[in-house]
Symmetry: C2
């Protein structure tokens, strides 16, 4: 095996950042170094981490320096899965004072062992025959406790408005009133009816839940029942569960990663895992075709630089790994479409819940307002121009405001 290495960048603080990087390089690999006899050093050298760089950012009041450090790890230290990777580069280190895991760069040989998205941006565009525009997704207003008929009504209303995808609420686990496989079959029928009316296909993302050692079987039963897409709470189940679903040739439908619980990791400046890595790079290599993440708009928004870097990590060329669709979510209404387009470009999914269901004309009109906003912005028109032709868009702009 050639000596290929994984580069890991941490944000931390220390009296001497380079010394800290060197200590991590030893402590997270062979455990000790300078006290080893020469023969043992020769034997363990192929497993030894290495301090690569230290970049000071600021001097703190206590005299320590806060900054970025990069450590390289031999790929041979890991099995080809995210539990091995995260345990090996951040397991006990995460408990060792102020340190945040911010970035990982992989050699191609290591990446090839991961499934990556089965469909990715291009595959999903192909399935929907929707090339040169952002896609549009709608979320059920709520799912928990609702009678099946209410969900069918909600699904139909959203589909008739022309959305590309409809997703379950991510908290929808206890679904005895509208069971998983029955939902998939029922919404498939409705989607065929609405497509006959509108000419537009709509994909339904059903929330995959259950015992972790039965998920692949359950996903296959979903495929057999005609499922279009799976919603999956990746952080609640663990990255390896996504990996094994994406690697399963029989689970041949796109997987949509929900960011539930991500806020337990990313918001602190001192601890955790940065969003561009957590919801970007790791979700992509583990196989998410679409990744939801907090939008940089609204009250409790994700930092914009982080959100843009996250989207870049999902879409930038990466040897042999397909691109994942960024889905900036929360606080999205039709008036925000020009801003979304300016920030995230063509390859994104516009995702709305309240911005569709809260439309004065109902969910179908709410979806239509988004469809018209996306068409306008993609064609280089203003929302004001489009609203002249679209009473639904005009009503949305009246309610929520936004660049005309």
């Amino acid at each position: 095996m050639s000596d290929q290495r994984i580069l890991v960048t941490y944000l931390t603080q220390a009296k001497d950042l380079h010394k800290k990087a060197a200590a991590i390089a030893v402590g997270m690999t062979v455990g000790s170094w300078t006290d080893l006899p020469a023969a043992k050093q020769a034997e363990l050298a192929p497993y030894l981490g290495e301090a690569v760089s230290a970049t000071p950012l600021e001097t703190l009041e206590n005299g320590e320096t806060r900054g970025l450090i990069t450590v390289s790890y031999p790929t041979r230290n890991f099995t080809h899965d995210i539990p091995s990777l995260l345990t090996g580069i951040f397991g006990k280190l995460s408990m060792d004072g102020k340190i945040k895991l911010v970035d990982i760069t992989f050699p191609e040989s290591f990446l090839q062992a991961f499934p990556g998205p089965k469909f990715g941006i291009d595959g999903l565009r192909g399935r929907l025959d929707a090339q040169n525009r952002p896609l549009l997704m709608s979320i059920f207003k709520s799912c928990l406790g609702l009678p099946f008929e209410d969900l069918k009504t909600q699904f139909r209303a959203q589909a008739l408005g022309g959305v590309d995808l409809v997703k379950d609420d991510e908290i929808f686990f206890a679904d005895d009133r509208a069971p998983f496989l029955e939902r998939i079959r029922a919404f498939k029928e409705i989607a065929q009816e609405t497509e006959a009316q509108t000419g537009k296909p709509v994909l339904y993302a059903a929330n995959l839940t259950g015992p972790i050692n039965e998920l692949n079987e359950k996903a296959k039963r979903a495929v057999e029942a005609g499922a279009d897409c799976l919603l999956f709470n990746v952080l609640a189940f663990g990255f390896d569960a996504l990996h094994r679903l994406a690697a399963d040739p029989d689970v041949n439908i796109p997987i949509m990663a929900h960011p539930a619980l991500a806020g337990a990791y990313y918001p602190s400046p001192d601890y955790g895992i940065a969003t561009p890595l957590l919801l970007g790079t790791l979700m992509r290599i583990a196989g998410a075709d679409l990744v939801l993440f907090p939008s940089p708009y609204g009250n409790v928004a994700l930092d914009k630089t982080e959100a843009l870097q996250l989207a870049t990590n999902l879409t930038t060329p990466l040897e042999g790994v397909r691109r994942s669709f960024p889905v900036p979510s929360a606080g999205i209404h039709p008036g925000l479409v020009p801003q979304l387009y300016a920030d995230f470009g063509l390859d994104q999914i516009v995702n709305a819940g309240g911005g569709i269901h809260g439309h004065p004309g109902g969910a179908t009109a709410g979806a239509k307002a988004f469809v018209d906003a996306i068409a306008a912005v993609t064609a280089g028109h203003t929302l004001g121009e489009a609203a002249n032709q679209s009473p639904e868009l005009a009503a949305a702009l009246e309610k929520w405001g936004g660049a005309r």
Copy 2:
């Protein structure tokens, strides 16, 4: 189904804490409430969360109050697993500003659906025939990259010193030089040899790794190979993987939970999941027989109140759920045993790496020093008294210090 409820406590800040609790109670369950028609309210009421209490702790400079809020959720909102639970009480909420998940109280009916530890404190004491003392565990100095023979030598040295358990290094995934099942068989043989010499059994905890949908099968193969115990990186693989191992009747050996990655969740005062819940309650109900966590001693220690609460959560009576062994780890040397005993009592495992391998007389003498320290403290003697009879303990106290 009776209306049993799960009580969830968060640490957060708001202008009005009770209003925030009420908003969470709706937002994390049925989504909206006041705008629903009366018939819909009647239908969804059984799924509605409720604000239970708000306890102010301090007034912040921005005029907001920081404090604890408790929200109750109907058990019917969840399937009986931790992904459903965490997604339902903290999924999107974790991304909604400053909020930390600090405690959960379960009704008995919900607890019964979780496996809990198969052996727990009493079961493990029975297997080791070690009743009225803390147990002693030793960690390999390092595992990664070492030839099998080196690991055998390390195992034998630790076992001869009289430890109750020896565990793998948690980063030991890439084990081609000493494969999992071969290690289990080889160390079993050595354990039988050392038991013949010392009269004391020693259990080996092998690091369970691999694809998540194959873990139960791999664990069964380990049991067939004679495994005594499994080490498991619960947070890297997800709580549900532990749950399914613990619930599997064929995996009839204790499971030791490693806290790797826990520091990505708990250290921030504003975000994440508090350790007593993360490494205490959740590990226990999911089925960990032993739980490692950062000790409250040393440089980068866990806050002592948190560490003690964590141990309490592992050992306090809980309807139908066995007690898990607390294993406060890092920075442990024989001189700390009186402190450990005063803090964590009889039902703990004293766990040392450097404090055993770094002994001037080597690992066997290092383990012997701990054995003698534990025997002394349990019998009500001082370490100074015991050191008169134990040159190994005397040497350890000389090197590391500690209460004589």
